[in-house]
Symmetry: C2
């Protein structure tokens, strides 16, 4: 029984791997497990069948032998708990890897997504241009602390983990802001992760969906 995830039928990121299914695809690739993908349109995401799987009408979801999940963090933890490759074995290191997952999602991602979102929701407001540097400074504060922690390490702790996977994907959400580039060790950290074969397989898989959707639109 292969697990099934959902992804955008037509991703708003234009296949750049910024939608959250990329995180789950990457996790499956790191642990060497196959997965099926069901594509969902924006319309279907808000309809009853999908809202039963995801109360907030988003992707990804996971269906895996009687387990139904939403929230990328929970899905990746589920995969990491069942297959070797994303969580260290010893209790202390395992707990720290999970701490970095929560950190990525609750400490680093919110100001990054906030900045991204206001471009769409307030981009036409007279105050938007003046707020961008304020939002940038909030992100910068977090990145500075993250950069200080990382130092010259390859990964956030001794070995690559689900914490790095989540952190790298969250940092990628700031692409185009130039903020990550201010911290050379963070830029190198993201590049190091992107060079992993599992990342590349996941990237190619989500990109192929975007290309195929484009074919259909023609």
């Amino acid at each position: 029984m292969t697990a099934t995830i959902t992804a955008f039928a037509s991703s708003p990121d234009r296949g750049r791997g910024l939608a959250r299914d990329m995180r789950v695809r990457w996790a499956f690739e790191e642990v060497g497990q196959p997965y099926d993908v069901r594509l969902v349109s924006f319309k279907a995401m808000k309809e009853t069948a999908h809202m039963r799987l995801h109360p907030f009408g988003q992707i990804p979801t996971l269906e895996d032998r009687g387990i139904q999940l939403f929230e990328t963090g929970a899905i990746i933890l589920h995969i990491a708990e069942r297959h070797a490759g994303l969580l260290p074995d010893d209790a202390a290191s395992r707990a720290r890897a999970i701490a970095w997952m929560f950190c990525a999602l609750n400490t680093i991602e919110p100001p990054i997504v906030e900045r991204e979102q206001t471009r769409f929701t307030e981009g036409d407001k007279p105050w938007h241009a003046e707020r961008v540097p304020l939002m940038d400074d909030r992100i910068r504060t977090r990145l500075r602390q993250l950069s200080a922690w990382l130092g010259d390490r390859d990964w956030l702790e001794d070995v690559f983990s689900a914490g790095d996977l989540m952190m790298v994907m969250v940092l990628r959400r700031a692409e185009g802001t130039g903020l990550i580039d201010e911290f050379p060790n963070l830029t190198a950290y993201v590049a190091r992760a992107e060079a992993r074969p599992a990342y590349q397989r996941a990237y190619d898989a989500q990109h192929a969906v975007f290309v195929a959707a484009g074919d259909k639109r023609r």
Copy 2:
């Protein structure tokens, strides 16, 4: 060996139990485990000794028999995995409880904290008053979906879990906005949680710290 957490020496919430140590105290009370508290001043939070425990200079942290953790979500998951009372036994229910933890922290909390924070960082800006209804609407969208999911259930799933604990604490962060009151089943849900003896013990413990700090200031 009792676990030790950190908390504000002088909480900015004036003892209302909105600081994140309340979440961890409540978790310990639900599983019936004692814990020690080390109080940290705002100054000490940004100094090297604490930043080694918490790379972002915040509270709470956890030190538990060689395990050092930051991020409230990770700390509560650590407690819930080691002691009965916060995660159901069967795999599917356990995974869903964890999904609700992530949901509270990554889907519900960010717009609530954003609104709270801009009061301090942008409260004096000419655009702030006009932005409040925009921020309220974003929160309202999430609350409406959460309310629809909850329906007439007591808890988010069949039994109270760490997911409810986290969700209730996140909803409490919106106190004073009037937004929760728009959804009677969410108001009742928060009240139901606050009536739990474990919640009350945790609340009293953090409130006692605030009262004692006030005594010292006199």
